[in-house]
């Protein structure tokens, strides 16, 4: 590498010495193609030489061109697209530079992949270039969108779980949550199937006006992606990208480091009982012991006292029988985790000629997680080719293959055996190094949570390393998707196309609970096969009549979705320990096999009319026939109208106001349901011996179900000022869903848990703002800033004729959470109110809002209190990029204001005495954990029943284990946050350094992802990676990564 650079340098130095014989004088002017304004300070360079001049204030330049020099000029202006201009006979030239800024970009991809000029759209869209997605190498597409699109809320999961994020567009429209569809070259795919290295353009379509042509599946928005195609250009057509990042634990809860495991500060001692204990333990009679069976940390002070650790009782352990000092281990949890390494490598080949284009791409992602023994491998192969068979007939095919393998993807969630333990049920004094050697020579496992000195079996918890290395899982996914299309140009105006599309997914997920661990050994094997096939026929019409430009199309589509799965698990243990097969099941294995089939037939079309360059009108209409609805209701018609007007056309060009557009739209979209939901059926249960069992399903089917119809209105404006250096975009929308299909949870005293209904009416409205600009721009430096903000409000207008509250299961999260026997916290949507109210046990307040304590000094509890809404006040993001000569840098952050979430980790972290707040000194300077009678205890802020300030100290352990347990108000937090998602700093090597080499471009970047959670109310958890949409039950730690990226073009 070093020598290559050196030789490049030598070549460059030699080229300086070349003398010039004769010259030709070229004079010219550089202007912006969008505004027509002259560009001062642009660099005009003779291509592949160092000969360059800069334009003056009026954009003029004069250049002495040697006769033997190239006749090509390279013009650079920061922020505008580099242009190579070939000089003809004329010595005076005018060069227009195209804008490179995506927000002003001319053409965007809209529904069905139709490319439209941005000006013509009557609804709001946001577009992103592929390079912006791969700049910082986020692990998945949705995370890469964080902060970049107004009105999009990104919900991430911990990097430790290799999770992918989900996004929600314009708040919650559908009461069961609902995510947008991802459409790659017309094929609907899972977001994880998208290879960011292949993305050319990405557009987020937000409302029904933009997505109606996708029909029902686009009702929650659409992310439309066009992949890269082969290009005709210099070089041999190879690009190579490599990025390596290092991931480590970022946030952990603030633990206490004063007290060890146990339930009491008093020490216990071992008393040798010859009846039950082996004689070799006799000598340890009287040694100090901890309560190993406890999975909490209310134990003795970590003051250096010598005691027998859990492994001291294990004759197979090297430190058998050795006392050790009880000292704090503040970094024990952190030291469990590794540094994860992700290597992302892409190589692509592309080539195009007059009548063909091809592109092939291969991407490999190899990733190790922060949890030991967790790994992820992902390979993509894709090809994109088209060929013009005749001058009228074009055939194209796009094919993507993805193979994904997960080894031991860690679980989020309550009582997961790693972080579910560390943050909720653990002993603070444990040194991770004493756990690493988790296996005894005889094949059994060591746990810290032994039942007693003479019983080495774990009580509640395996060793976390046993969990990581023995209770393993192995998941593989294969996804194939693509399309093949024949397009025929019938006349100049008419063309017709036939398209076949498919997406196929095969999944195998297997899991083991190892023999001889805490739980009965078990093997689970789930096989899942999903596919979707579409056939589309279309006729497109494009024509210009005078000032009118017409663009119309009609489509017929056939769609079939099939899912097959077989989920099986052993029951009653494994016949042969360590044999992980279904055949090894001791009892009859449990098996669930299912098949689903859904068909949708559709006819749809659009017609767009443009008048000159400033007035546009577009209408679309679609009819779907869905097999999932009752026959008499299965055909539904919807569509929309939108218009756009560029009023700045009627304003004299000036330096202040550059561009103005208003837009308005109306749209309606219809939605069906899942297969097999309208007829009554009956479920089998596992047999009782030889007696089969059947039960009535819990959901009341609905044979009269109607399609959902959502109606949306949207108005907005786009304004640009100061030669387009300041951009403002505003959008207001309303949306009203009628007959929303909901699986309404009902009182089970009716005999059923849910009823499939058409809910009355649910309304949403919201605002989206984008403010962007280029505060600084000169020949060397450009600074761009883009901020966006989204606000969404909703109301349940009417729900059901009998039920007036919807306890919602949002994005797969349960509608309530709680522990057996304790009051649960529920997620509610009452008629007449907004969606997302948390209701649960709260603290009684006096009329001034002070918390009331009882005569013992504990909070007075009151059930069924409203604890706030999970809906944010607003969400938004900020991105910025800097360019200085060949350096470029950028960051993006996103934020949320308001919205609540509930944290189980926080509740149990206190319950079990693991978190900082349960230890230390109290309000009167004594150890909080000492008895109240000795000055200890905790004083709760609040007032007594008589209104005087509380002065009664309560026992700290009782406080968190009794009073605060399931006192949900205490564990509901504000979810506001500001998070830096990515930072990058890059350098593009000047092309003249290697103009005699095959290299076309070389750039190098330093990148960081999720480097900084700038603000969060409760830093014991990361609110951006909650396990579910409204609570976390034991999240894996948030992670951050840094690394470097290299891009080479040949």
């Amino acid at each position: 590498m070093k020598s290559a650079l050196l030789s490049i340098l030598i070549i460059w130095l030699l080229s300086l010495g070349v003398s010039h014989a004769q010259t030709r004088t070229i004079s010219g002017r550089i202007v912006s193609s969008s505004s027509g304004q002259p560009l001062a300070g642009a660099t005009v360079r003779v291509t592949d030489t160092d000969m360059a001049v800069q334009t003056d204030a009026l954009g003029n330049f004069v250049l002495q061109l040697p006769d033997d020099a190239s006749n090509r000029l390279t013009i650079d202006y920061v922020g505008l697209r580099q242009q190579i201009f070939t000089i003809g006979a004329d010595d005076t030239i005018l060069i227009k530079l195209e804008d490179d800024d995506q927000s002003v970009g001319d053409v965007v991809v809209t529904a069905l992949g139709v490319q439209r000029t941005r000006n013509s759209l009557g609804y709001s869209v946001q577009a992103i270039k592929g390079e912006e997605l791969t700049m910082v190498r986020q692990p998945d597409l949705n995370t890469a969108l964080a902060g970049k699109i107004a009105g999009v809320q990104v919900q991430s999961t911990s990097g430790a779980a290799f999770g992918t994020s989900t996004i929600r567009i314009r708040g919650i429209n559908s009461l069961s949550g609902g995510n947008p569809i991802y459409v790659v070259d017309g094929v609907v795919v899972e977001p994880v199937a998208v290879n960011m290295d292949d993305v050319a353009d990405l557009t987020v379509l937000k409302g029904p006006a933009a997505t109606a042509l996708y029909g029902q599946r686009g009702s929650e928005g659409a992310v439309v992606i066009k992949t890269l195609v082969g290009r005709n250009r210099d070089g041999i057509g190879v690009t190579f990208n490599q990025a390596t990042t290092f991931e480590s634990v970022y946030l952990l809860p603030r633990y206490q480091n004063e007290y060890a495991g146990g339930y009491t500060q008093e020490w216990s001692t071992f008393s040798y009982n010859p009846n039950v204990a082996p004689s070799y333990l006799a000598e340890f009679d009287g040694v100090k012991i901890l309560n190993y069976a406890a999975d909490e940390s209310w134990g003795p002070r970590m003051d250096g006292t010598m005691y027998m650790p859990f492994y001291g009782w294990d004759p197979s352990h090297p430190q058998f029988g050795q006392l050790t000092a009880l000292i704090p281990q503040p970094d024990n949890v952190r030291s469990f985790f590794n540094t994860g390494i992700t290597a992302n490598t892409n190589v692509a080949f592309d080539k195009a000629g007059d009548d063909y284009q091809t592109r092939f791409s291969f991407t490999n992602v190899s990733r190790t997680g922060i949890v030991p023994n967790s790994k992820l491998g992902r390979n993509w192969l894709s090809s994109n080719a088209s060929v013009n068979l005749t001058d009228r007939l074009t055939i194209s095919a796009i094919m993507n293959f993805q193979h994904e393998v997960y080894n031991n993807r860690p679980n989020d969630g309550y009582a997961s055996q790693t972080t579910g333990s560390f943050n909720q049920w653990f002993q603070r004094q444990l040194d991770m190094n004493t756990l690493r050697d988790y296996r005894r020579p005889d094949g059994t496992f060591r746990s810290w949570n032994i039942i007693s000195p003479i019983n080495p079996n774990p009580l509640y918890w395996d060793n976390p390393f046993t969990e990581a290395y023995e209770n393993t899982s192995f998941d593989t996914y294969q996804r194939v998707y693509g399309n093949i299309m024949a397009n025929y140009q019938l006349t100049n105006a008419f063309s017709a196309a036939l398209i076949g599309r498919g997406t196929f997914r095969n999944a195998e997920e297997t899991g083991r609970i190892a023999s001889n661990t805490l739980q009965l050994d078990r093997y689970v094997q789930n096989m899942n096969n999903q596919n979707e096939v579409n056939y589309v026929g279309t006729v497109v019409f494009k024509e210009q009549y005078g000032d009118f430009k017409i663009d119309a199309a009609a489509f017929g589509e056939y769609r079939r979705n099939q899912t097959r799965f077989t989920n099986a698990a052993t029951a009653g243990g494994l016949a042969v320990p360590g044999l992980y097969t279904l055949e090894a099941s001791v009892d009859r294995p449990t098996v669930d096999t299912r098949y689903f089939d859904q068909r949708v037939h559709s006819l749809y079309g659009y017609a767009a009319v443009g008048f000159r360059d400033y007035l546009y009108l577009e209408g679309n209409i679609r009819n779907d026939w869905s097999s999932t609805l009752p026959v008499e209701n299965n055909s539904f018609l919807y569509g929309g109208l939108s218009t756009s007007f560029i009023f700045s056309q009627f304003i004299e060009p000036n330096d202040f106001f550059s561009f103005g557009k208003v837009r308005a739209s109306f749209a309606r979209v219809g939605t069906d349901t899942n297969p097999y939901e309208i007829y009554q059926t009956y479920n089998l249960r596992p047999a009782y011996g030889n007696d089969p069992q059947m039960t009535v399903p819990d959901v009341i089917p609905n044979p009269n179900l109607l399609p959902t119809l959502s109606t949306s209105y949207e108005i907005g404006t786009e304004l640009r000022f100061f030669n387009s250096r300041l951009l403002f975009d505003f959008n207001y929308y309303t949306r009203s869903a009628r007959n929303q299909i909901l699986n309404l949870p009902i009182s089970s005293t009716s005999g059923f848990t849910n009823s499939l209904i058409n809910a009355g009416q649910i309304d949403n409205y919201g605002f989206e703002f984008t403010l962007g600009g280029t505060p600084i721009r000169n020949s060397n430096f450009k600074w761009d800033l883009n901020a966006n903000l989204g606000i969404n409000r909703n109301q349940i207008v009417r729900l059901d004729d009998q039920v007036n509250n919807l306890q919602i299961e949002l994005d797969g999260a349960p509608s309530s959470f709680g522990f057996t026997g304790s009051p649960r916290i529920t997620l509610n949507a009452y008629e007449g109110q907004a969606y997302g109210q948390l209701i649960g046990m709260g603290i009684l307040k006096d009329q001034n809002g002070n918390r009331l304590v009882n005569e013992e000094g504990f909070y007075q509890r009151q059930d069924n209190m409203n604890l706030g809404s999970i809906i944010p006040d607003f969400t938004g993001g900020l991105t910025s990029t800097f360019a200085y000569k060949n350096f470029h840098a950028g960051f993006s952050l996103d934020f949320q204001k308001g919205g609540k979430y509930m944290s189980i980790s926080s509740m149990f972290g206190h319950y079990s005495g693991m978190l900082e707040q349960t230890a230390g000194l109290n309000e009167r300077g004594a150890p909080r954990r000492d008895p109240v009678s000795q000055g200890g205890g905790t004083l709760l802020p609040g007032v007594k029943q008589d209104g005087t300030p509380n002065d009664i100290y309560v026992d700290t352990q009782r406080l968190y284990r009794e009073n605060m347990f399931s006192l949900w108000e205490e564990w509901v937090y504000d979810r506001s946050f500001i998070k830096m998602r990515e930072i990058n700093l890059g350098y593009d090597l000047p092309s003249r350094l290697f103009h005699n080499t095959p290299f076309r471009t070389v750039s190098f970047s330093l990148i960081a992802t999720n480097p900084w959670l700038i603000y969060a109310q409760n830093r014991n958890v990361d609110p951006t990676i909650l396990e579910t949409s409204w609570f976390e039950g034991g999240q894996l730690p948030s992670t951050r990564s840094w690394g470097f990226s290299l891009k080479v073009g040949l």
């Binding site: 216990s268 057996t820 026997g821």
Partner: protein, 486 residues
């Protein structure tokens, strides 16, 4: 060439359009689930409703049944025995067994379905209906005894009423007496029912169980409505309850993971061993030199002695106890295929003894002794009977007869349907149970009812509020209708 391409395109497009707009005829059959049965089967539904009996969530097998009457005590995590669990979920009982039973009744009552093979497969029409009525009555009595007012008259109607009102316990008991009387009258005539994993299709035993349940129901209400209680009890007794151990209503767990006993799951499958025999029970059995002690409990591993676990200790005080130094529950009750006795001959005899103590029928003493004999016989301890009952503490003494009867009934009911023992405590105060050093949420007592499912407040809001307004706070301390203060 061009022409053919054009024609081809046109043809293909036309075919597309025809296919799309017309070929939706098979949509109805496409949308019929191949995964589940299209028709019900009443035989299989009955098996399911009976299987639920042994479930913790859907039936009567929750550990709390053995904690409230202090048969067992929690060793390390003592929340439930300290009454920190307030809310118990009645939803699954409605949506699983009760809904299945209601479906059996509806299919047999509907003339269109009653003659279908998937209904006649379950047995004759009358027997199916009346067996379902008895089991339904059992579940509903279980429900009202735990929660008090519950949806009954408007429950189980599906979409027709998804917000059923709460009936008073008095109304429910009135209805249950009628249900049990009518059902047994018909079942005594004979008949056959299939899928019966409780009595193996013997409808006569169903009639006897119905009478047994009616006798129990009568005693439940004897403090609040003595006349009705007496009349119902005598009528049920004359109709004939369970009259030998072979007629006991016993749910049997099986030796397979899908049908195993919950205590096996706790003791063996997950190796948690959260429960030991309570100190109070062990001490009573030792005091009575009870021959059932070594069957009910295991000696502590450390000492070889029978040592009970103190009931309801705060967790910080549990450090002194572990599975090695207290008596664990006897193998018979922690076996994978353990039995769960719902109603037994011994219970019937103790109920008769109580009725005799009240003067409703003669001879309290012999019924008391019969009850003890029947209980000992369940464990093959008949030989110990004479010695056992000869002890002054055991021999019947009319002065404290009620306490003796209920206490022996309590011992006999070990690890069986403990809710009935809790009910006996609530209505008689016996045995005298100490709630432990730090009971929560009960004002220093044992719970007198359990609180409703959290979701009721949000899904059946008005009826839930009405019930609380009528019955009292949704708390463990609120007394239900038949639980009047002396």
């Amino acid at each position: 060439m061009k022409k053919y391409v054009k024609i081809g395109f046109a043809l293909a497009l036309t075919l597309c359009l025809i296919n799309i707009s017309s070929c939706t005829k098979n949509f109805e059959s496409i949308n019929r689930s191949p995964n589940d049965a299209q028709n019900p089967n009443t035989r299989l539904l009955l098996t399911s409703a009976l299987r639920s009996l042994g479930s913790q969530a859907e039936g009567v097998a929750g550990f709390v049944k053995d904690l409230y009457p202090q048969y067992m005590a929690e060793i390390q995590y003592t929340n439930e025995s300290r009454f920190m669990n307030i809310i118990y979920d009645f939803y699954p009982i409605y949506s699983v067994p009760l809904q299945d039973l209601q479906t059996i009744i509806n299919l047999n009552l509907n003339p269109e379905t009653a003659s279908q093979i998937y209904v006649t497969d379950g047995g004759d029409r009358e027997s199916q209906i009346n067996v379902a009525r008895v089991l339904k009555a059992f579940y509903f009595m279980h429900l009202t005894d735990r929660w008090g007012m519950i949806p009954y008259s408007e429950a189980l109607q599906g979409r027709a009423n998804v917000t059923p009102k709460y009936d008073t316990q008095e109304e429910i008991y009135d209805a249950l007496f009628i249900e049990l009387r009518e059902a047994q009258e018909q079942l005594r005539e004979g008949g056959n029912v299939n899928g019966d994993i409780l009595f193996n299709g013997d409808v006569n035993l169903w009639a006897k169980w119905a009478n047994t349940l009616r006798m129990a129901a009568a005693l439940h209400i004897r403090n609040v409505n003595p006349e009705k209680a007496r009349a119902e009890f005598i009528a049920a007794h004359e109709a004939g309850g369970i009259s030998s151990n072979s007629e006991n209503a016993v749910f049997r767990y099986l030796s397979d993971a899908n049908n195993q006993s919950p205590l096996f799951t706790n003791y063996v499958a997950t190796n948690r061993v959260d429960y030991a025999v309570s100190e109070y029970l062990i001490n009573q059995l030792i005091l009575y030199q009870d021959p059932r002690l070594p069957i009910y409990a295991l000696p502590a591993i450390n000492t070889g002695d029978f040592v009970g676990m103190p009931y309801g200790l705060p967790t910080e005080e549990t450090s002194a106890y572990n599975r090695e130094n207290v008596s664990l529950i006897g193998h018979r009750f922690t076996a994978q295929n353990a039995e769960l006795a719902l109603s037994t001959f011994a219970q019937v005899e103790f109920m008769l003894a109580e009725a005799a103590f009240l003067g409703w029928i003669p001879d309290a003493q012999s019924h008391y002794l019969n009850g003890i004999r029947a209980s000992l016989a369940q464990y093959d301890l008949q030989e110990a009977f004479t010695t056992y009952v000869a002890q002054p503490l055991v021999a019947y003494n009319a002065v404290n007869g009620l306490e003796q009867i209920i206490k022996q009934k309590w011992i006999a009911n070990y690890m069986a349907n403990g809710y009935e023992s809790w009910t006996d405590w609530r209505r008689t105060g016996f045995p005298t149970l100490d709630p432990g050093p730090s009971p929560q949420n009960t004002n220093g007592s044992l719970p007198r009812r359990q609180a409703y499912t959290t979701e009721e407040a949000g899904r059946n809001t008005q009826n839930y509020r009405d019930a609380i307004a009528r019955q009292g706070a949704d708390a463990l301390t609120t007394r239900i209708w038949w639980d009047i203060e002396d």
